[in-house]
């Protein structure tokens, strides 16, 4: 019999509430905060898939772009409000995610990673050819659909909501029975399968969750810039960013991506005037971390101290 540490639930809840309150109340740059929150949601979603089920995806920018396009098309053609259109984006991501899974389900390891990359690239090329969605010119959001006065606040709160729902959702999921299965898969896939865990089904669930989160985040981000085009929305840079954040912070934990996000945006602001130098530095870090610090920063802290801010580990009784 094993159990979770119930008593330690208050700390993460209070911590997140404090951060949310600080973001709302302090006079910060809400544009930057919005981007940070959206990338955090993406990183948590991607980490759920790659950190826990071992499926390393190099193609989640597919969902970022897809979510953005679905939102724009929904708002412009049906007149649905942008906030509700995010649900449409999530729904389409779910369906497309299922279709992708049907194609990729036999591919494992590196084949999955690059297979989904090819899918993402196909979507980029497809949207760049598709006249109905403006081909390579992209789409501008119908200006009648937004309220200019409250727009900046709206997207900020949408981003905050998505980030909180994602972090808490992933946390709750990992504390559930499914979470136990996911962590078992993370630690030993063959072992998990041998004790009766449906590895493929859990992988599919994690894949769909990560797809929906990335699509919603992409939808909100491009909503905030009011314009979407294929080369930007389906840019591999979205994927690289998330990869960097999760790898540097620590794969397979909730704390890791949070640390990664602080480092990523901190460095980006530092290198703001240095242009490509930041990208080179980003690549260099992703290059070196697995060699010198395989568990990322949080992995290092955890192995030294045994801390867990989001308690998901179970204790034998």
């Amino acid at each position: 019999m094993s159990t979770l540490l119930r008593s330690s639930l208050t700390l993460p809840a209070l911590g997140l509430a404090a951060i949310a309150a600080a973001l709302i109340l302090l006079p910060i740059d809400r544009r930057l905060a919005m981007e940070v929150l959206l990338v955090l949601a993406m990183a948590q979603g991607w980490n759920l898939l790659c950190g826990y089920t071992g499926l390393l995806s190099f193609g989640h920018h597919a969902f970022v772009g897809l979510g953005a396009y679905v939102l724009f098309v929904t708002v412009n053609t049906t007149g649905l409000s942008p906030a509700w259109s995010i649900l449409a984006a999530a729904l389409v991501a779910l369906v497309v995610g299922l279709a992708m899974w049907a194609l990729l389900r036999k591919l494992r390891g590196p084949y999955f990673s690059i297979g989904i990359w090819v899918l993402a690239d196909s979507l980029r090329l497809l949207f760049a050819q598709w006249e109905w969605v403006g081909s390579s010119r992209g789409i501008v959001l119908n200006p009648m659909s937004i309220d200019a006065a409250s727009f900046a606040d709206t997207v900020f709160y949408l981003a905050l909501g998505l980030a909180l729902v994602t972090v808490f959702g992933v946390f709750a999921l990992l504390r559930s029975r499914t979470g136990l299965a996911l962590m078992a898969i993370r630690d030993n896939e063959a072992g998990a399968a041998s004790v009766g865990i449906a590895v493929a089904r859990n992988q599919l669930a994690a894949f769909l969750i990560s797809a929906v989160v990335c699509a919603a985040a992409g939808a909100i981000y491009y909503l905030s810039v009011l314009y979407v085009d294929p080369s930007g929305a389906f840019d591999i840079d979205w994927q690289i960013r998330v990869l960097f954040i999760v790898i540097v912070g620590g794969l397979g934990s909730i704390e890791g991506p949070i640390i990664g996000i602080v480092i990523y945006f901190g460095l980006r602001e530092l290198f703001r005037d240095a242009g490509d130098l930041f990208l080179i530095f980003q690549g260099l870090t992703a290059f070196l971390v697995p060699l010198i610090m395989p568990g990322g920063i949080w992995g290092l802290i955890q192995s030294r101290t045994g801390w867990q801010l989001f308690p998901t580990r179970r204790v034998a009784q």
Binding site: P110, L125, Q129, D276, I280, L284, F287, P290, P294
Partner: protein, 290 residues
């Protein structure tokens, strides 16, 4: 350009694609490492070729040899200093490392050469062509195709007739037995990645003589290499070659039908093959695989 000419052009292009795939397949087959920076090495070779031709008086064939040697050294060094430390059942660390390397290489190329489109000027050979039976086809593509066939045959001979080649195959099958026979596994791996990168570099340089490139072409090259490997079936030289030819023909034909969407047709063909493999037709169509 008639369809027959398009198919011939696709075949000559496909020889190079086969070489891209061969480089990727060698590294995966022998070390179980997927080199995400594969495409960037291909592009790097093209830039090295451009630079050598511009600043040195070396003739083109010598430049090809120099680029191949440099690529071999680069592959060797990468395996010896980095990738040998990440061997094991989990492919993720090596993929992340080479992903990081690809970002570095891409952006260093942008810093050094700018993001503009480049091409290699090889003089009068560029426009020479031969005609037969009413068709005309460039001399350069034919020459490049011949070179890629020669390289495929050489790799085949290397793998079947030489000690190092047999060691490569043994390492792919069972590296522990290989070590009991007195081979140093890591040095075999170094040589294997050197060979893989050198093959792709030569292919990249030859492709640069046919079409233009930018620092961002690496992703496209990597995806082509990957598709060739999947279409051809892993672990077979013939599969790589045929997969490359197939993809080359599909792309050139696609480009002829829809001038902006050539790569998309390559991707679509790849997914069709993937679907066929998953359906019950798979075993019937999977000829040529082990």
């Amino acid at each position: 350009m008639s369809y027959i000419e398009a198919i011939l052009n696709g075949l000559t292009l496909g020889g190079l694609y086969g070489l891209f795939g061969l480089g990727l397949a060698l590294a995966f087959g022998i070390m179980r490492i997927v080199n995400i920076a594969h495409g960037e090495f291909v592009v790097l070779a093209a830039y090295l070729g451009v630079t050598l031709l511009a600043v040195t008086p070396l003739p083109l064939p010598v430049v090809v040899v120099v680029v191949a040697a440099a690529a071999f050294a680069l592959g060797w060094a990468l395996q010896a200093t980095m990738l040998n430390r990440l061997l094991g059942p989990n492919p993720v660390p090596a993929m992340v490392v080479t992903m990081g390397l690809s970002i570095v290489l891409r952006n260093v190329l942008v810093e050094l050469y700018g993001a503009d489109i480049q091409s290699i000027d090889i003089g009068p050979l560029q426009n020479m062509g031969i005609g037969f039976a009413g068709l005309s086809i460039g001399l350069l593509p034919i020459l490049i195709f011949v070179i890629s066939v020669i390289l495929f045959i050489s790799v085949n001979l290397l793998l079947t007739r030489t000690t190092i080649g047999r060691a490569f195959r043994a390492a792919a099958d069972d590296h522990e037995i290989l070590e009991t026979l007195g081979f140093n596994r890591r040095r075999i791996y170094n040589a294997a990645l050197g060979l893989a990168v050198a093959l792709s570099a030569v292919a990249g340089l030859l492709l640069a003589m046919r079409s233009s490139f930018t620092p961002f072409s690496g992703v496209e090259r990597l995806l082509i290499a990957f598709e060739v490997v999947i279409i051809g079936g892993l672990g077979s030289l013939r599969g790589c070659f045929l997969g490359g030819l197939f993809l080359g023909v599909v792309q050139v034909l696609g480009l002829k039908l829809y001038p902006n969407a050539g790569p998309l047709f390559g991707h679509l063909a790849f997914f069709v093959v993937l679907l066929v493999r998953q359906s019950n037709l798979g075993p019937l169509l999977a000829w040529g695989r082990k």
